[in-house]
Subunit: 214 residues, 2 copies
């Protein structure tokens, strides 16, 4: 397997955590999302993923895209340790937590969206930062409330083993910290973040520890 | 089971298709996203879903959120007809197609985002429509390219049975049509859309056929 990723990409970070948790070693091909106008737009990479997004996981020539689909694939093909709990209701809860970030928070603050706000809508850096922080506040506020009321919350989002929701959460917190978003209102979420970062699989996957880190 | 939805919501539409395909009858509670400043913001609904988004599927008191998580739940608990193919690579492909819309297209054009562009960033209707059409073009262009090169494409996104990718695609096309987005560049995608709409499960789920339709 070969992973095409970028050290700072949240979706790439998720897949790196997943690979580490499963103990899967892969070859790495960094794709720089800024240099050369964005290497993801080069024809060679577009041929691998027409969405022009990282990560891509090359599995014997099959190009897997979309971080959550890749994580489900890893979980189906390498069941231990599982990313999802056993019961269907628990699985639905964990997937919903992950999707609340992967659908409703992260895509709004992605590089290409911030670029459109700047170049397409001529919005200032202050306005772009306010946009960013607004969606972080909405998304993490809901995430905290989803955690607060639930009996299955443990040391991690669901019980005492990290899974799909934790894997999706952690890169989002890294992003929020990088943009100086206030995080004091999310004590349960941040407690889980800290528990995750104490795990080697998460720490090894963080942007600063990648070969292409700047 | 009780479905909290809104006739025009794409994510609700997905779940209605899924329920119809599985032949599951549910009670319905419409949540009007515009009236009264948005019924999703009322405290009664926020208690069900802190994300203040539809759909919510109440399964014996467990509040399932996030349309793709709900669809996976329905598929796990009601396996026939399946929403995902058998092999792990095929499942990864179908999930990635669905997520390419559910993560990278739909959330950018959601009501709350268009509202922020208007109220938070004072953007004109023309600018908001250009934003909308831009992300539709990027998203469907990539979707078409993902379909084009793949041997597993059939009458539907994956083979000859509708699944998770088709369920996610169809509501997005309804939205794109409502906003007069040009669709001529996506013949494979639109062929699949037409094949879906010939199926009763899809047709019955469309906005115009809901009890709360306006």
């Amino acid at each position: 397997m070969r992973l095409y990723d970028y050290f700072r990409s949240s979706a790439s970070f998720r897949v790196r955590i997943g690979l580490n948790l499963k103990g899967i070693e892969v070859e790495r091909s960094p794709v720089h999302l800024i240099k050369e106008g964005g290497q993801q737009f080069a024809s060679a990479f577009t041929a691998l993923n027409p969405q022009q997004l990282v990560p891509v996981l090359d599995v014997d020539g099959a190009m897997l895209t979309q971080s959550l689909a890749i994580l489900e694939y890893l979980d189906e093909t390498h069941p231990e340790p599982p990313f999802l709990p056993e019961g269907a209701l628990g699985r639905a809860r964990v997937r919903a937590l992950a999707l609340s970030i992967a659908c409703d928070l992260h895509p709004l603050n992605n590089l290409r969206v911030l670029k459109y706000l700047k170049d397409g809508l001529d919005r200032s850096e202050d306005e772009r930062n306010a946009w960013y922080r607004h969606w972080v506040a909405v998304g993490l506020g809901a995430f905290e409330a989803l955690l607060a009321g639930h009996p299955d919350r443990g040391r991690f989002c669901h019980g005492d083993r990290p899974g799909l929701a934790d894997i999706t959460l952690v890169p989002q917190i890294f992003n929020a910290k990088r943009l100086d978003c206030p995080l004091g209102d999310y004590p349960l979420t941040m407690g889980i973040f800290e528990a995750c970062m104490a795990e080697e699989a998460f720490d090894k996957a963080q942007p600063a520890n990648q070969p292409d880190a700047e």
